[in-house]
């Protein structure tokens, strides 16, 4: 195995708290190609702990690419170099012996830094709370097959619903816009008959909440979709713009 050892230099953003000034710090570590990126950081953290130094704080949980908790900008790209791959699913075989790797947190006004690589993404939850749902209470739903929905339509809805709420789209956008995230939810729900009733209010409220939270405007760079680990299509933004315009024109209320 030793012939597989990779010597890596990391430059990691360290910041004690939201109001502290952060900086990049360099670390040398060893890895092997079979490790995941986060396991490489685990090993480094064990080393830091044994030297009585402060380990690097980062968010993660499922380590399967589905919870959306991990978040790092790796060499300038949210979630690192591999397409359609979250940081936790990235493996060291995507790098080579001798590489220098830069690791930074998501940077956006709406995502304040908590510590090191951890950021506060609660703005996303508040945007969903403003309208990212179908208002059905528990109980009284009709039989699930009472409303047929074509396979194609359901598949398209799924493509949008696959968003994991990670925020990479915001981190990738020069304006820190959340249009892809919001568009994904609006597009998902707009594909379903049940989603029609609240269509206008949803688009208006979610866009308003997005602005309130301090996300920027969309100027069509498309960086969001190329950074998105779930390959949410850029059309989500078109759907959102269309839904928003339609709601505004017809006076808002459903």
């Amino acid at each position: 195995m030793s012939d597989e050892t990779m010597r890596i230099t990391l430059h990691v953003w360290r910041q004690k708290g939201p109001n502290d000034r952060g900086s990049l710090q360099s670390y040398k570590t060893e890895a092997n190609p079979h490790m995941s990126f986060l396991e490489m950081l685990d090993v480094l953290n064990e080393q830091l702990l044994s030297k009585n130094e402060d380990p690097i704080a980062f968010d993660h949980d499922c380590r399967e690419g589905i919870c959306g908790m991990c978040s790092m900008v790796i060499n300038g790209r949210p979630h690192g170099p591999r397409n359609a791959t979250t940081t936790c699913q990235l493996h060291m075989r995507s790098f080579k012996d001798g590489d220098e790797i830069y690791i930074e947190p998501w940077q956006a006004k709406a995502f304040p830094i908590i510590k090191d690589l951890m950021v506060d993404r609660s703005a996303f939850d508040r945007v969903i709370a403003s309208g990212g749902y179908i208002s059905v209470g528990t109980g009284g739903a009709p039989d699930a097959n009472a409303i047929p929905i074509g396979k194609k339509q359901a598949d398209e809805a799924f493509d949008y619903a696959a968003c994991i709420g990670c925020g990479a789209c915001v981190a990738a956008c020069p304006n820190a816009s959340a249009m892809l995230f919001v568009g994904a939810k609006v597009a998902h729900l707009s594909k379903f008959p049940q989603g029609q009733v609240e269509r206008k209010g949803r688009a208006l409220n979610m866009v308003a909440a997005m602005d309130t939270e301090g996300f920027g405007a969309c100027t069509n760079h498309g960086e969001c979709a190329s950074a998105c680990p779930k390959e949410i299509p850029l059309e989500a933004i078109m759907v959102l713009n269309r839904e928003y315009a339609r709601a505004q024109l017809s006076g808002g209320e459903d």
Binding site: E39, N52, D61, E64, Q89, I128, I134, T138, A144
Partner: protein, 640 residues
């Protein structure tokens, strides 16, 4: 310990209806006078919090992730069962009930399981109306598949991300109630203790994971939906932070812990690749519909490339041993067979690592690569990302891993624990899956508990408990806060030289997996029971936790959880030692048939083993809830 399950009288199919009629109601105007704490925002917690808020209760909901949407339910892949019988293939509520009791190896309570099967259909209706994008047929109807060896197609799914889509449905309902200010959400907040006043659950003590502040929250009832404890094994398919602390703290406050040794080992996971391994990844069970499991017949072939081993030199051991079910035998059977193959020296990984092949060659030759890609594309991609190998051209390497815990806090028919007012939902309770959970049944249970059971049963408790107002100035809260704080301080003050992961790995891999894993025996369990206290003692002497308690401190969080695992592991081993039979996921080497199958002892062990805390350093007491089977005939599971 009062283990009255409060099962309603009458025929099984009428119990739930009758019970709902008998339950006391809280009138609508009074609901807003009650506050309910819901700990957990997975399928069970989010569905409960949203529904209780819709009914008018004040709800405070807690989770340790940064958003409720990230609860571990999000990772479920395969699907959710329901007895809709849409495919018209003979399914019914009764069949789902029967299969679940049998699949659980007759170690679950009939009445609860029957209710679960009854409710299953409503869950699908509810989720579809929320906009969950279930898989559909071309005609627009919902699609079903057969899963985990079931002989009917009753599993609903959303690609390989069913848990994600169901959770996002529940999360959207929850966010709607948060937006309406009916639920106050506390993300990045961890429950450290349960607070009892007059013997009733009246609140919790939490730590704010950002500021480190210890806080108290009072309520009229507490609902725990904190998931499973599979991470006691260090390596499992659970998310990194899944833990037992909430449930274990309730146990220490007097809640009975039932069947802790019932853990499920999932047969198809990506094997351990090295010491740095931090978790294991599940490969969906659905792969066994087309994949064939094998190892070389001859040990000497194990290092050869699989393509150089001709079919005649391969041992398709599941097909050989279980001709009727072949590769589709239940999880516990498939897992043990893989262990047997590896123990016979035929692992297909080197350096002492364990794996068997899961091969799609036959399926690709039969149906074509495109058809296989259509069915499993995302799983194949995931495998390739992790292993670096292409499963279209070379067989996957898989090995069993800890996946689910059937044991949990004991609850009665109302989902109330032995502590009045403390209700337990989802994977955190013990109620429905007996000694082995069937595929696609955990999502069903979590949502049944949260959407359709607790909203009724908690009303009965609130209407009858009459406990009056309590606030967080009560000394019980102050005491619990102080105890929580002291424990954190103690952890920080040890000042040793070993990290928390060192101890967690030792406990999980060297003790629990080794002696309380896929196969258990008296000698090993007794050894574990000796090793755990020794390791715990070392933990409290040698751990080093950096930083302080008044800031973000991921290592302190972890150490606090591992400290509880180090106590809880002992109860698991005690339970495994006590249960002198093999049942479902609990396989005692001493209790097997001549051909190596699990041998139950219905005469002596048809009971739920409920452990009662008796003080630190004192053995817990064993209480028993006898299981009676009126409807399902006890029989030996036979998959040959």
């Amino acid at each position: 310990m009062d283990l009255n399950a409060r099962i309603p009288s009458g025929p099984i199919s009428e119990k739930w209806d009758k019970h709902r009629f008998d339950l006391k109601l809280v009138n609508p105007a009074n609901k807003r006078k009650f506050k309910v704490i819901v700990v957990g925002s997975g399928l069970a917690g989010a569905s409960a919090a949203a529904t209780l808020a819709e009914l008018g209760y004040h709800v405070d909901c807690f989770c340790f992730q940064d958003s409720p949407r990230r609860a571990h339910s999000i990772a479920a892949q395969g699907g959710i069962n329901a007895a809709k019988n849409y495919p018209n293939d003979g399914d019914s509520v009764y069949r789902l009930f029967y299969d679940t009791v049998k699949g659980g190896d007759y170690r679950a309570r009939e009445a609860n399981v029957y209710r679960l099967a009854q409710i299953s259909n409503q869950i699908i209706d509810q989720c579809a109306s929320q906009g969950v994008p279930f898989a559909r047929e071309y005609g627009g109807q919902l699609a079903n598949r057969s899963f985990g060896g079931a002989q009917v197609s009753r599993t609903f799914y959303a690609r390989g991300q069913t848990g994600q889509q169901l959770l996002l449905g529940a999360y959207s309902a929850l966010e709607r109630m948060i937006g309406a200010k009916k639920v106050k959400m506390h993300p990045r907040t961890e429950m450290l203790d349960l607070v009892l006043v007059n013997g009733h659950a009246r609140g919790i003590v939490t730590r704010n994971l950002i500021t480190g502040t210890i806080e108290s929250h009072s309520a009229d009832a507490v609902v725990l939906a904190t998931g499973g404890y599979g991470n006691v094994f260090y390596l499992s398919t659970n998310a990194m932070a899944s833990n037992v602390t909430a449930a274990y703290r309730c146990y220490k406050r007097g809640a009975g812990f039932a069947n802790p040794c019932f853990t499920q080992i999932h047969p198809t996971c990506i094997p351990v690749s090295g010491d740095y391994q931090s978790k294991l990844t599940l490969m969906s069970e659905s792969l066994r519909n087309d994949g064939r499991v094998w190892v070389p017949k001859d040990k000497a072939d194990c290092r050869k490339a699989p393509k150089d081993i001709p079919p005649s030199a391969r041992d398709y051991y599941l097909e050989r041993k279980y001709p009727a079910f072949g590769n589709l035998v239940p999880r516990d059977v498939a897992s043990r067979a893989a262990k047997e193959a590896v123990d016979s020296g035929r692992s297909v990984l080197d350096q002492g690592r364990s794996a068997v092949y899961l091969d799609f060659e036959t399926a690709i030759a039969r149906d074509g690569k495109d058809a296989i890609a259509d069915r499993y594309g995302n799983l194949f991609d995931m495998y390739e990302r992790i292993s670096g190998e292409n499963p279209y051209t070379t067989p996957m390497r898989i090995y069993p891993a800890v996946h689910y815990t059937m044991g949990g806090l004991w609850v009665d028919y109302n989902l109330m624990s032995t502590i009045p007012g403390l209700h337990v939902l989802g994977e955190a309770n013990f109620s429905d899956h007996g000694a082995n959970r069937l595929g696609a049944s955990a999502l069903m249970q979590g949502l049944a508990d949260g959407y359709f059971v607790i909203p009724y049963t908690i009303g009965n408790y609130l209407a009858t408990a009459k406990q009056g107002d309590v606030n967080t100035d009560h000394p019980a809260f102050k005491d619990a806060e102080k105890a929580a704080q002291d424990k954190l301080k103690r952890l920080l003050n040890v000042g040793g030289d070993k990290s928390v992961d060192y101890f967690h790995r030792k406990l999980g891999v060297d003790i629990m997996w080794e002696h309380c894993g896929m196969a258990r025996d008296k000698q090993g369990l007794e050894k574990a029971l000796q090793m755990i206290p020794e390791l715990r003692e070392r933990f409290w002497r040698e751990i080093r936790v950096p930083g302080s308690s008044s800031e973000v401190n991921l290592w302190l969080e972890k150490a606090n959880r591992v400290a509880d695992f180090l106590e809880f592991g002992e109860i698991m081993c005690l339970d495994a030692l006590n249960r002198e039979e093999s049942a479902g996921g609990h396989f005692r080497l001493e209790h097997q048939t001549a051909d190596g199958e699990a041998k139950r002892d219905d005469e002596n062990y048809a009971y739920g083993a409920v452990w009662e805390y008796k003080g630190d350093g004192v053995a817990p007491a064993l209480n028993k809830e006898p299981y009676t089977f009126e409807y399902v005939k006890l029989a030996t599971r036979n998959y040959a």
